[in-house]
Symmetry: D2
Subunit: 290 residues, 4 copies
């Protein structure tokens, strides 16, 4: 589980109906081409009959360049089992756009982790509907784009955002307490590639003001959830959840403050796992090979 | 926080609108009558402006017998501040009826804890709509009452249950995975004195089959909630919650099994705190002086 | 991760120096013989260069009986890579002897879990140096052997214990708060097959009276550790650890009581994982494919 | 538990041998002088027979100015019970010097929390034996003092540090992964006023390289401890501890990275509680009224 950026490896991610010989076939293919396996993870989901695999190997000594690998693996293996699959290369880190509004705790935490090398990706830009995060972005040397969003200009604002994502070759959008709901049209452009942090233990307290709702309900634990964004609000596949104990002594403000710790933890873990290609999607769930 | 049963103490529980001099007045009253305070807990709820207090004192040297205390405290103190209050005596432990159906893990756990002295109450009877728990109850020497419940006889069955509770002077009803919904008429008879364990992190997954719902939603933590029963299903004041981490590897059966650990923990803590008179109710919330 | 006992499967456990082609070779071998893989887990330990694998397959359609499999796998695969390996069969559950003294919480918990099918093993006998657990054992229908142990008779007592283990074909010894230190001679007879629960977060507070030591030190979390027993007290490979929050409010007795919950959790998990053949040993550590 | 800085309150902290009438006497004193109590916390430690109290009141309507209060409270109350006591004023926040070396995660976290108002104190200066943290300090507008420390100049370096602390009227020193051991002479100057974060679950793995030691031991949880610094290394009173789950998959680097999250949490909580005057010391332990 050590840092991806420190090596020259490939990561193959597979999802298909379970079948006999899957592991033998995939690992046999890689072995024949000289792969030195660094890690292998499999999962068989009994309920759905689906098979999931993540396999990472050192490219030193591997005899297939990217195109040749893709062509050959598809022809010899993937088609046979009806695989959804993709291959990632550690030397080609994913590019992340961070969206943020006025609450900066997740944002500051992500930038610090990125700086210290915890996150195996690049952050070419920050997009915000406010100015609050600009100084932070500048401190970390990341270009900052202020795009105001309101009921009137939402479509146009999203068009500008999408143009920036396109221009910067963004692979992943991270909503670090971005307080605008993205339109279905936007979400559709980045399926399984937008991560949001919701400040509750979903599915409890979906929607706005979850800490208020938690306070009213008198819960003894508050939570946070990192999930992929889908067209249905707060309903996307969950990547990570965490809770923090509270008591009658905690007023609403305390819930908000304690909750921030849970938010930081779940969002940073989810982004890290995504960037290390450890998360596979199926239906509305995730397999996380962490 | 040591065992109540091992001492001869009184516990005064107070709830009233916050006002100046409350602690001084109550503690002054007790001091003048020779109370040796063992523990004091207060809470002021900013949102509601309510004040809560639990104070326990050694009765050795205290100069007021029960009736005299009640009369005098009411006249001198409680009326002045508009207090809801009650006093409990450690030598008069509360009497608990445990209701159980076919899942015995919480039931077996409670009986074992009771046997080892963790719970400061007496268990004069067990009531079940099945036979499964009978051997366990017999092992611990607790009378077992089998009262079948179905759609047709529910009213009559509850009448028999209530008669038994009356007969045995029951103070607290514990639903240890009792799989019948109590009627509003029953619940009304024991306000704030029926504790249920729900096998989810409420308010997520209220209602039937919460583990199925959690599995479908792909959560990364499963939970359990101990709460007082009110007329609205799964909506009563929460006493305790706990979660346990799960992953994609956990199938539905695994959620059920792991969840049992959370259920045991929350129910046993809630019952313990209630029996030590550490839980105060206000609105739909609890103050737990644990 | 569903219950082993419900299927007819084989589990192959492998540990060897990492080498190219390991997964391909093992999975290829099984595939050629018609194995329907149920789950596969691998781990490569960077620090030691060791490889670990657990692979479970449905025996339906597998064309090798036990002896043939062992012979062939050894000849074709295991020798080549210098493997430590063994194969287990789900229909041949391991046999567990539970040792207990006077604290019964772990013992009662294990027996209840066994009864409900959480533990994939058989418990043919209980051995104790006291009488306290006899009624519990009888309740669950498990033969109880009282063997008093003191400074004078220890050697003889252990000889009687070992004879019983031999007689009942015991695979695993579980020390469920058994308050006698086993001699090195005893331990040597069951390497990696004696599980103990220590009532602290090892390596903090090894030795006797860990709760006293934790109380003196003023820790804010207390823990419990399930580990394999080696000749050095409290030093064996750790299988599982858990902690529970405490505060200044908790007196020594409270630590003891709260700690029991952590003890139950770690011991039951460790026994469960061992019986499902999910734990591999290397040096003084464990790989747990849970 | 809401933010202290937002109100004009006094906090009285008391520690003395337990005696009858303590709460009545203290609360009576405050009541007579018009105090509007905001929160009260007491603790009686059975083992030591000590009593602890924290009481906070709104100064609006309180009829004693600081000097008058101190004189009168001492004469009328404190002397009688042999109290250790002090009073703090929310409008006079404590002044914090943060010491840091090259690992910046705790440092960056503290500064961000300070900026967002989570910490009820002022940070007039940062002291470091390296340059790494200088940009961060500048970003938050906090003066940075680089004082190199080595075996030869340690005494002189500490003299310069102490002069700075004196000059800036520092109340609390926070060692945010400061990698130099302070001399006993230094520690003696700030008894109970130096908070350190140790990157293990003390008392396990005290001393240098705790993550290495934890990795070698094969623990399943790693921890962090925030504690007051005493003359004995890693032995001071514990304020807060936290753990994070690890597995065989985690290599040494992973322990280090995961551990940072625990370090951030315990240090920020400890500093917060200290600055809100929620921590009382007795012997080698803490009472934390959090």
């Amino acid at each position: 589980m050590c840092m991806m950026g420190q090596r020259n490896s490939a990561i193959l991610l597979i999802n298909c109906p379970d079948a006999r010989g899957l592991v033998a076939t995939v690992s046999g293919f890689l072995f024949r081409h000289g792969a030195n396996i660094l890690s292998t993870d499999e999962h068989r989901d009994d309920a759905s009959g689906q098979f999931f695999m993540r396999i990472e190997w050192d490219l030193e000594g591997f005899d297939l360049a990217e195109d040749a690998f893709k062509e050959l693996f598809d022809a010899e293996t993937a088609q046979k089992y009806g695989m959804n699959w993709r291959v990632e290369y550690s030397l080609r880190p994913h590019r992340v756009a961070v969206f943020v509004s006025r609450y900066l705790h997740c944002f500051a935490d992500l930038l610090h982790r990125h700086k210290t090398g915890e996150l195996a990706g690049e952050i070419p830009l920050v997009i915000s509907n406010h100015d609050d995060a600009a100084r932070h972005a500048a401190f970390y040397g990341i270009p900052y784009h202020h795009i105001a969003v309101n009921a009137q200009n939402k479509e146009e604002a999203e068009a500008r955002q999408l143009a920036l994502l396109e221009e910067h070759g963004v692979d992943l959008v991270v909503l670090a307490r971005y307080m605008q709901v993205l339109s279905p049209a936007f979400v559709t452009r980045y399926p399984g590639r937008i991560i949001n942090v919701h400040h509750s233990f979903l599915p409890a307290f979906s929607g706005a003001k979850p800490y208020h709702a938690a306070f009213e309900r008198g819960v003894k634990l508050i939570g946070a959830t990192a999930h992929y964004v889908t067209e249905i609000l707060d309903d996307g596949p969950i990547i990570e959840q965490e809770v923090i104990r509270v008591s009658h002594r905690d007023q609403l403000d305390d819930l908000v403050e304690k909750g921030r710790d849970a938010e930081r933890l779940v969002l940073s873990r989810a982004v890290r796992w995504h960037l290390e290609h450890r998360v596979l999607l199926y239906g509305n769930k995730t397999v996380v090979f962490a």
